[in-house]
Amino acid sequence: MAEIIANEGGGKKKGKKRAKKFSTAIDMTPMVDVMCLLLTFFMLTTAFSKPKIMEIVLPEKNIESKGTEIPKWRAVNIILDENDRIFYYNGLADPTKPPIPTVIESDYSKDGIRKMLLDRNKTLFKQISDLNNDVLTGKQVMSKDTLDQRLRDLRSNDMVGPIVLIKATEKVKYKNVVDIIDEMAICNIARYSLTEMNSFEVKLLAKAKRDIAAGKTGQP
């Protein structure tokens, strides 16, 4: 025992008049218990990733908008189908105006529809990513509002990028639609819209599916 006391005293042997010291250590266990409980509670109830939102604006209904005619060379039609299938064709499908475009099957992966869209949207995508890069690296200094305004301007002045028309068949899952709209955001597509399929496109799609099933490729 004497040795232990000596050790604790750290060599100070003079203070022999010390009053007997009681340990000041409190039993922490209940405190730990309570804390553990509270911690678990907060961890489980906390929503860490606050849900984000993606904005879409749909064209107003019941208004017969003649609208602007979409230039044929800019139009890209994306058709979503059940079982996560996705098709696209370029131009406009009009039985009275041949040639009738070929429907090509693609997929949701990054080498699928995204590659095609990026390829079509190169100019605008490059402008936007250059601007973003300049701001990130400090080459151009601007406030967030100015940047947003610049990006908006770039988008609305885009005259060469594709105009994407998104169409979905009956049994498409919600996820597919959100994915494709997200794809628009990823590729910085300036103009896109969710529209309905017309009857001619239904036929085109059915034919394309038959062809693909028969082993032919999408290409003519």
Partner: protein, 212 residues
Amino acid sequence: MGKIKVAKSAPRTDMTPMVDMFMLLLTFFMLTATFRPQEPTQVDSPNSISEKLTPEQNVITVYVGKDNKVFFNIDNGEDSTQHIRQKVLADVGKVYNITFTPEQLSKFERMAAFGMPIKDMAAWIDAPSEKERQVLQTGVPVDTTNAATSELANWILYSRQANPKAEATIRGDNTADYKAVKQVLDIFQGAKINKFNLVTNLEKVEVKLENQ
């Protein structure tokens, strides 16, 4: 001398560092906590790259669950003295000749999202337990043949009337049918709302042009 005595005291660990750590974590979680809102159904949101945060006020939220059931929620706006939820419930009740007692109205104001035909509404409000409430949640009827006069359309119409600032937010499940969502979108458009917020989870994507 040669005896070695084993100390008989119970083994004690010093809890102080543990308490310190817990305290730290606890403080962190308490300060960062934003409580998960109570949801009427499990909704698994799709992913997107959008980083825009969900607005907290002035939102009409429509949930579309796995089984395409539709749930509805509206918040009280920034001025709770307006009692927007009460107003909406009273108005929609009037359309279907159902009157709610003031107690039911004020109770409804404090409740969350719901999904049931309006005739079950009173039962849902007065239900004594959460379990019984869950049973009543069968989804807001969305009439497929005449969507413009369905109950959901009325909920949206009167919500919009009570709170013109309210934005449409749609919380759809990954596996919900687009058809069901489209119907909701159509009803919103019938109420002259053309801008929608789709709730998604953040997912980072890096894209580069291959041949610049």
